[in-house]
């Protein structure tokens, strides 16, 4: 027999685990990029550089080229920073690369 506690737990757990945010549609992504481009002044760096996936087997040298299209570009590794570790980099090396190459929103 289901108790009040059972019913409440079912509801709060399902609610907490639900991801209401659907994936961005192509049209939404174009709109976001257009808005970012419209805000950018000519001298500004690229507003955002998105890496959706990193190829396996890259050397650390090649990886840096992938990560840095512009010294001031914001970097977002959409596939997750765990990929850096999958490339064979130590956590600290991965950390240094991401930290040094990432342009903060605050700046």
């Amino acid at each position: 027999m289901s108790t009040v506690l059972d019913e409440n737990l079912g509801r709060v757990l399902k609610s907490a685990l639900a991801l209401e945010a659907p994936p961005l549609r192509d049209e939404q992504m174009r709109q976001i990029l257009q808005q970012a481009a419209a805000r950018r002044r000519p001298a500004d760096p690229f507003p955002l550089w998105v890496i959706a996936a990193l190829a396996a087997g890259l050397s650390a040298f090649t990886l840096v080229a992938w990560l840095l299209p512009h010294p001031l570009a914001a970097l977002k590794i959409a596939a997750g920073i765990a990929l850096l570790a999958n490339l064979g980099l130590s956590p600290l090396a991965a950390l240094v690369i991401v930290r040094n190459r990432r342009w903060s929103y605050a700046n």
């Binding site: 009040v4 409440n8 709060v12 991801l19 945010a21 977002k76 959409a78 920073i81 929103y105």
Partner: protein
Amino acid sequence: MPTGLFSTEPELAGRLAQGDPAAWKELCETYGRPLYLYAYHRTGDASAAEDVRQETLLAAVESIAGYRGEAPLFAWLCGIARRKAADELGHRGRQDLPLETADQETWQQLERQPLPDELVERAETRAAVVEALWSLPEDYREALLARYVRGESVTEIAARLGRSYKAAESVLSRAREALLRNLKKEGSCREHSSG
């Protein structure tokens, strides 16, 4: 005695501190998704949640020496994520969400009366539940998810855990108690810190 990651967290932290790549991968794989969920509930924004997740994992590696094992590792990560979420929203020109509603009284109601939809769906309720759930030992979490999210019977849970029916019932009972304890503890901490 429950098994799972809970008992091995100090060991994982030690390996992270030593720069073990396998430990880094384990951290990301074990806590990446719940951290995203937590960050999503804190920020209400999928893109901000992804950034908060990345920043939290990076900050955790940087400061892992500060983790003493006195609290579950996920609760410690949530502490970092809370600050990162506030920073992220600030950088985006938005205020932190008003997350003041899930106090002890909220969790007392769980056992007494059906919770209003409005309370169940509040961001604070959701974030607190994610934190409390992933701060449980793995056996407990798995039993709760099986029962309340996937709707499995006690017999099915017993088979999943490789235990008897009675033992599965016992795990479920202790898991419920532990979850409630975590929720009430978190509500209590929040009340004290805000009051």
